[in-house]
Symmetry: C2
Subunit: 386 residues, 2 copies
């Protein structure tokens, strides 16, 4: 049964193949086609100012609120390739549009992999032909073909009343504020307007991918797309639809956290007791990015002093003399002072929940997901191009 | 010859001893006494809002522009110990003041080590007695006694015309924006006013320690003090004095970079081509903190794409299509595009100079010093308390 992920909702075809971009011979191209009747689409993108050529193209094409198909490749980000990169991204879109007999402005392109290497265009364009021939209920193949350092493929499905949301994603490192380095494609057979698709997608990503911060790095290629076919014929309420898109993003976000590069611990950091949610998120992010804190988590070391040292630099209202911290529900710091049994807390498991109250009594609250900083992270990232 | 570091200038006595704070039995307390005739002092401190008790005390005592002595301990930061921490820091100052027959407001206290453990006060107070008895030309002993994860003791000496600046420092990790986790004590026998001491120290730290960013973490205890005895009887020009203080800070800063936790590469990141120096420093810091970049440096991997991905998130004016990067003088990226031989650059040596031009033509320029992210860094920091 491969009818999962992006092909779980009605009205979508997909394929994933090995075109030959990756030296490893692993799958490296995917295609998702919206068979309609609607071709509604929305997208959110990296906030990095250095953006890859496919991001520029896709951002322009999705602006009108509809897409017919999305072509993906892994193994090469097509970023920092100058005008040639733009030409190559355009050629990918042109080729797909011709093969599917549609307008090039209805095609999106998503690339992920190494930055600054020219795209092997003969291989890529031949791959498009193979993809179009392979189109079918192959969501699982597509999800596999977009993997880079991911160790598991990532799919999701959320079922509504007669309609559903499906999706696939990749992302295992370089995960940061404005989206992790991720490519995500969500699909739905619900009948929705471009405006609703856009609102639901923005609301969901703000609460999921935007709060996933593995290493503070932000990619040149982050793209999250939502395609709606309307094939179910059912128009859900805005509330139901928004909730389903959120649930799909939440599932993919959790899968990305679990599979982050070199992860041995999944760390959830919740901040309360500051003025507003924005400050709480900033404080949680500051702790989540602190390498000393992350190394302590890798070592299962309940070194709460590093939480205080890190959070003291956050741009959030706090009472420095009244900060509380708990690890996995055990109070380790109260009124900015260690509890008597703070060093006894067992952090040996793979999930660590950190709750930090900044002591102002304010209603702000946010949770950021991160991971530890492990030997494997250093290993994976010390020889990526070589 | 132990008359180095803080006791190189005339008018200072120092000592370094093993009091017994550290379980390892290594030296863990130091004392620096200004014998006058002047007792001018200036200090700069961490910008962290969570500050250790000795920082609160020392900040208050140095505000008047003079100090008679500074007592140091390593092995315990006396941070996040609540009111007891304040009481203990005060007791240390009281004890030193009584032993040296001076006012407690002329005593500074500097602590470094683990956060959130009560100070072993009987050991510490007995240590003060031992220190006072040991006072002499023992700058080298003092420098050794303030080490934590440092692998070398750090001293400096800058000679003027009949006067000099000496100093010692410690700091090997948790180094970040507003000062590395560092304790630094500079001494001089020049005749200077408190106002000049303050100006020279602030100017020097802004260009040295403030631009040393090993891991983005900022300590609760960072303190840099300058003590002036006037014992040379010579009043240097403001320019000469400022230059000497800068040189002393520069030397200690370079020693800290070399000895940073787990360092295998010393990385210097210079940013040009943006609106002002502040933006250039922000951009250099963003790259220097990026874990993916730091891992690439550890792997001697000339993966310039990570420089662009990192700098694209910096709060600095840039032309995203016109960024240039060089590694050790070899152009690896021009106009935001890789050069043909970019992957051939040899980064096998222990020093890597990265120069990034943001392409706006603006006059801003700054250099940040950082290091790679190595297995040893993870190892050292994953089991600090356990």
């Amino acid at each position: 049964m491969s009818n999962t992920g992006v092909t779980a909702p009605a009205g979508f075809a997909a394929a994933g193949i090995t075109a030959g971009i990756k030296a490893s011979g692993k799958p490296d191209m995917a295609l998702v086609q919206n068979l309609g009747p609607l071709q509604v689409a929305a997208g959110v993108f990296t906030r990095n100012r250095v953006v890859a050529s496919p991001v520029k193209l896709t951002r322009a094409h999705v602006a009108g609120g509809n897409l017919h198909a999305v072509v993906f490749n892994s193994g090469n980000a097509n970023a920092c390739n100058g005008q040639q990169g733009d030409v190559d991204a355009q050629a990918m879109a042109d080729k797909v549009a011709a093969a599917l007999h549609t307008s090039v402005s209805d095609i999106a392109v998503c690339s992920t992999g190494i930055i600054g290497e020219p795209m092997p265009m003969p291989v890529v364009l031949a791959g498009v032909d193979t993809l179009v021939e392979a189109l079918g209920d192959h969501g699982a193949d597509a999800a596999t073909a977009i993997m880079t350092t991911d160790t598991i493929s990532k799919e999701t499905q959320v079922t509504g009343d007669g309609w559903s949301v499906g999706g696939m994603g990749k992302g295992a490192g370089m995960m940061a504020p404005a989206l992790a380095t991720m490519l995500v494609c969500l699909t739905t057979d619900a009948v929705v307007s471009p405006a609703l698709a856009d609102r639901a997608l923005r609301a969901a990503t703000a609460q999921t991918f935007d709060l996933l911060d593995i290493d503070g790095s932000t990619s040149t290629n982050d793209t999250v797309l939502l395609l709606a076919s309307g094939a179910s014929g059912i128009t859900p309420s805005e509330e139901d639809f928004t909730r389903a898109v959120f649930a799909a993003c939440e599932q993919l976000s959790a899968l990305m956290q679990s599979d982050a590069e070199g992860v041995t611990k999944r760390v959830s950091i919740t901040v309360t007791g500051t003025t507003d949610d924005h400050m709480a998120a900033a404080a949680a992010r500051t702790v989540g990015r602190d390498n000393l804190f992350k190394c302590a988590m890798f070592g299962s070391d309940p070194n709460w002093g590093r939480v205080l040292a890190a959070v003291g630099m956050a741009e959030a209202d706090m009472d420095p003399e009244n900060i509380s911290v708990s690890f996995n529900g055990h109070a380790v710091c109260e009124r900015s002072c260690g509890t008597s049994d703070a060093r006894e807390v067992d952090l040996g498991g793979s999930n660590i929940d950190v709750v930090i109250d900044l002591g102002t009594g304010g209603p702000g609250k946010a949770t950021v997901r991160t991971t530890d900083l492990s030997h494997a992270y250093v290993e994976i990232n010390s020889a990526y191009t070589t």
